[in-house]
């Protein structure tokens, strides 16, 4: 069995801070869109009608379907309802 001398190992390059920041920002946003899909749909629906909005709405609709199929959209709704019931704040 060949042993590796630790001194032969090249030091790992430090993570590129810009790459890490970009991954954190976009993955966080993507996860939020998937977890609370109705927020994006509602926001897009409030905008003035234009071709970009229609395309974006179609995309948001697909995301919402995916979110509902895997069950995460319902988790947010139930958590929100539970919070409203416990806190006594005005329902949406």
């Amino acid at each position: 069995m060949k042993h590796v001398d630790p001194s032969d190992l090249k030091p790992q390059p430090p993570d590129d801070p810009l790459r890490v920041a970009a991954i954190v920002i976009y993955l966080t946003l993507a996860l939020l869109v998937l977890a609370i899909p109705q927020s994006l749909t509602n926001w897009l629906s409030d905008m003035n009608g234009n071709p970009v909005q229609e395309i974006a709405l179609r995309g948001a609709g697909i995301l919402r379907n995916v979110s509902q199929r895997i069950g995460v959209a319902g988790v947010y709704r139930r958590a929100r309802d539970a919070f409203i019931a416990v806190s006594g704040v005005e329902p949406d």
Binding site: I25, W43, S87
Partner: protein, 472 residues
């Protein structure tokens, strides 16, 4: 466009990559960021972007002229013209109606009628902030503390950069312009700090400030004479917490956003309700404004150089004008003057300064904290009350001690305690959290902001109120 909205998330998701893609083409990057900042500002009102541009152009030209002139007298003359133009613009939009009302009331009191019209234009958002940015630039150029830049783009960028544009922090020209030269180093991104500033800011604004406001404070201040004394006492503390959480949230998010784009902003709050004197409070509250007032108003007035009386006078003028900067009303003026008077009393009693702080024992420090906190919270009543009748009614009902029942719900009480935690948690815990985050694996780095924002979204109120400091 408010920070805690989907609009802003989409806006930032577009601005972030383009900014860094243009990092090796600095002029294009600045052009892009200026365009993005004007787009951000246009969300409030498109025509006020012309005002923002005119202010930037005026100060750019004034600084160039001041920089070229050799004669001190001529430089001073141009500076005064530029300062007058800046303050004239601010005065027209922000103070004109107030002074006209005082004029009419004054003449009316002696039986004379004057016919002066009011202007019916809304106050341009951020005018106080961008005017102070511009003034710091031309005054520094006049003092030869800063060379005037020949690049109009740099000045447009400095004054309009969207993270600080609406409600600060007030970034000094010399600190910011130094960052506009060449590419920004992505290694300076402090992801942990930025993530926690943004998450903390969202929590303070969306949860604490909003629920304190809508769930309790608004009701108490709407008709103070109908509230119980206990509600008025609690309302005073709740508003103190609300305004801190609201304003510090904005600047925390601004600092975090700017850092993600590669730019550094100064700290604006440092546990202000831990202050043990009013002087200490102003070293911790809206630090970028208090240092601005010190450097560009108090010191030019003579500071503490010309004897006791002149020092007290300069403090009073600085604080009264600082109060008036927040808005055109007697209440803001009184609020500023009260703080000025407190600073004068502290000086007169020998309680101000580093030496006095070092001599204080633990008991005196605790007493100083208690007195300062009560003073600051009482003074906030002037800041929040919508009219003279309202603050008169607030004080008279509160001190009458008529009823000791409360309408504060258990939920609002929990929010109050959560907001107060922002002053209880030791700073070293937050620093340790930043460091642990920076050392964490990538999935953890993503999970932390996702879970935090998800939880905030679950508990968020239906609509987000604008930040309090937008009106200034």
């Amino acid at each position: 466009m408010l920070f805690p909205t989907i609009e802003f998330a989409v806006f930032f998701a577009v601005v972030f990559p383009i900014t860094w893609l243009l990092n090796d083409h600095n002029t294009w990057k600045k052009l892009f960021l200026v365009a993005a900042s004007y787009y951000f500002y246009a969300f409030w009102r498109v025509d006020f972007t012309l005002l923002l541009f005119a202010s930037s152009l005026l100060n750019y030209l004034a600084a160039l002229v001041i920089g070229r002139l050799q004669s001190r007298a001529w430089r001073l003359a141009v500076l005064w013209i530029a300062v007058a133009a800046n303050l004239g613009l601010l005065g027209y939009f922000k103070y004109y109606n107030f002074f006209v009302a005082q004029l009419i009331n004054g003449f009316d009191a002696v039986g004379l009628k004057v016919d002066v019209g009011f202007i019916e234009l809304p106050l341009p958002v951020a005018i106080s902030f961008f005017t102070f940015h511009a003034l710091s630039y031309i005054i520094d150029v006049y003092r030869r503390a800063l060379k005037p830049t020949t690049s109009l783009l740099d000045i447009l960028f400095y004054i309009s950069f969207f993270p600080h544009l609406i409600a600060g922090p007030i970034v000094r020209a010399n600190k910011f312009l130094a960052q506009t030269v060449g590419r920004r180093d992505p290694a300076n991104i402090r992801l942990g700090q930025s993530v926690f500033l943004i998450i903390g800011g969202l929590f303070k604004k969306v949860i604490v400030a909003n629920y304190l406001s809508t769930g309790f404070v608004d009701g108490v201040f709407r008709d103070p004479t109908a509230a119980s004394s206990l509600d008025l006492v609690l309302g005073m503390y709740a508003y103190a917490l609300q305004i801190y959480c609201d304003f510090s949230a904005y600047t925390d998010i601004a600092i975090g956003i700017a850092n993600l784009l590669g730019y550094e902003f100064p700290q604006n709050f440092n546990y202000p309700y831990r202050a043990v004197s009013v002087q200490d409070f102003w070293r911790r509250w809206h630090m970028s404004l208090s240092s601005w007032l010190r450097d560009y108003l108090y010191i030019p007035l003579g500071g503490s150089k010309f004897g006791t009386f002149a020092t007290y006078r300069n403090i009073m003028i600085t604080m009264a004008l600082g109060g008036l900067w927040h808005g055109a009303s007697w209440a803001f003026l009184i609020w500023g003057a009260l703080h000025g008077a407190a600073l004068v009393i502290e000086r007169a009693l020998g309680l101000a300064g580093e030496a006095a702080a070092k001599q204080r024992g633990p008991l005196a420090t605790a007493f100083g904290w208690l007195v300062t906190l009560q003073f600051v919270c009482l003074a906030w009543i002037f800041f929040r009350a919508p009219s003279t009748d309202a603050w008169l009614g607030y004080f008279s009902t509160m001190f009458a001690g008529a009823r000791w029942t409360t309408t504060m719900t258990p939920f609002v009480a929990v929010i109050f305690v959560l907001g107060a935690l922002s002053h209880v948690l030791p700073p070293r815990w937050l620093e340790a959290l930043d460091k642990r985050y920076d050392r964490a694996s990538l999935p953890v780095k993503v999970a932390v902001p996702f879970v935090a924002i998800y939880l905030i979204a679950i508990a968020a109120p239906g609509g987000i109120a604008p930040f309090i400091y937008f009106q200034f």
